[in-house]
């Protein structure tokens, strides 16, 4: 398995994102209040870096480029967003955030299943 110890649980403030790069894979860790989520680093729309363009408010992530939005817990699209956020498996163990990076997740330009 490719579970990676990424950071301490108190390193990512509630309702915020923090970028990480482990073994050459870039991703974002989000603190959603009752746990953590990990997404690819870019918006699935125009591949803007959500580290810069992402706004977190009330459990909703908004890319300020074209206002695509997602439920931070489920990754499901809201409002004008056409694609969900992809999510890496995440678990919390002894105050550490662990992310499974077995396979790098990337948004498919021609994804017909979105």
């Amino acid at each position: 398995m490719s579970w990676k110890d990424v950071c301490a649980a108190d390193e990512v403030a509630e309702n915020s994102l923090k970028p990480f790069n482990v073994d050459g894979i870039s991703f974002l860790v989000a603190n959603v209040g009752d746990g953590f989520r990990a997404y690819p680093p870019v918006c699935p729309h125009m591949e803007e870096y959500l580290e810069d363009s992402g706004l977190c408010a009330k459990g909703v992530l908004t890319c300020d480029r074209h206002l695509w939005q997602w439920d931070m817990k489920t990754g499901e699209p809201k409002g004008p967003a056409e694609k969900p956020l992809l999510m890496y498996p995440v678990k919390e163990e002894e105050g550490r955030v662990m992310v499974n990076l077995e396979k790098e997740l990337e948004y498919d330009f021609d994804d017909e299943d979105d």
Binding site: L55, A57, T62, D64, H66, K78, G79, P80, F109
Partner: protein, 347 residues
């Protein structure tokens, strides 16, 4: 040349003329290709070439910065087809809304140029036939002998018209501005394409309005104000326009705005917000019934908004830093739904 796009099992086919930008060819065929600025800057109209040959156009377009060359990505607003092509696009392709106005190419001529302030010029574009557009939309204009189109929002609004009114900030875009400012132009004929843009006003949506303009961004918001006045929208809906300028000398459209405010004194307000005037400077008397403020226009406007204004549509028009600085607090502090914010990104 035939252009084919397959998306979600559906095949969309349109004809592109030689030298015609693929985005414009698709839009005029009623296919809702993704775009924002339509002039090479924002990158929203990126697509992938799957078969065929094309000319990518303006090689230094700022919108190229996020494209993947190895995946044959290009900007539809810049590219022209050399052969029939098959393309991929990343967004949904849906039919235009029923009342959407299909954009078309037009030949037109410019007239009635005048200076409104030290650096804002007003001009009109005259067409041979009547056209319609939504308040808040823009056209792209191309001058003879100058590469590429420039986007300008209409100032006026009519249900249908053969005159489009624009303003242009001098020296803002260089070549087109130089051309239109030149007294020795050999022709007044230009090519235009439109209407374009999604930051539009629709009275049947029944929203209160907050409009935030920086500099020449006032153009599209004037069109919204004109439309609202024509249909007496402000008899029953509140609207506030915040117009950001540097100094009182930059005030334009003061008489037109005054007549609007006088007509709807209970629901319509306009505030001129000067970023480079000290708070002890007073605006000239010509400001009339318009109020005034000091500092950054978005900060003044945001101070007027409160949590829970669920029926307020916010329009933002102006330089990209103004748009960015306004959107962040609207989402995170005012917690406005993203569907209640409208703007067109030109960078």
């Amino acid at each position: 040349m035939l252009i084919e796009i397959e998306k979600k099992g559906q095949t969309h086919i349109f004809e592109a003329a030689p030298e015609e930008k693929l985005l414009f060819a698709g839009l005029r065929a009623g296919i809702s290709l993704p775009y924002e600025c339509s002039t090479g800057t924002c990158g929203s109209c990126r697509a992938r070439l799957k078969e065929g040959n094309l000319e990518i156009g303006w090689p230094d377009a700022p919108g190229h910065k996020n494209l993947k060359a190895e995946k044959n990505e290009f900007l539809m607003c810049q590219a022209t087809a050399k052969t029939s092509c098959k393309l991929g696009v990343p967004s949904k392709i849906e039919p235009f809304r029923d009342d959407d106005l299909t954009p078309l190419h037009h030949q037109a001529s410019i007239s009635n140029l005048s200076m409104l302030s030290s650096d804002i010029m007003r001009f009109e574009v005259n067409l041979d036939s009547l056209i319609s557009f939504h308040a808040g939309q823009f056209f792209v204009l191309k001058a003879p002998g100058i590469d590429g189109y420039r986007a300008y929002s209409m100032v006026n609004y009519e249900v249908s018209t053969n005159t489009l009114e624009f303003i242009i900030k001098q020296k803002q875009y260089g070549s087109f501005t130089d051309w239109i400012s030149s007294s020795d132009r050999v022709t007044n004929e230009i090519e235009i394409f439109g209407p374009l843009g999604k930051a539009t006003f629709h009275p049947d949506e029944n929203h209160d309005l907050v409009m935030i303009a920086g500099g020449s961004g006032i153009a599209g918001l004037m069109s919204i104000m004109e439309h609202g006045c024509k249909v007496n929208y402000f008899d029953s809906h509140k609207a506030s326009l915040y117009f950001g300028i540097r100094t009182w000398d930059d005030m334009i459209f003061v008489e037109r705005l005054n007549s609007m405010v006088k007509r709807f004194p209970n629901n319509l307000s306009v505030q001129m917000v000067a970023s480079q005037e000290s708070s002890d400077s007073r605006p000239p008397e010509s400001i009339g019934k318009l109020s005034h403020g000091y500092g950054w226009v978005h900060e003044v406007a945001l101070n007027s908004l409160t949590l829970g204004q669920e029926n307020t549509m916010v329009y933002i028009a102006g330089p990209q830093p103004l748009v960015d600085a306004t959107i962040r607090p609207l989402i995170t502090e005012i917690q406005l739904a993203s569907g209640m914010i409208r703007y067109d990104s030109f960078s």
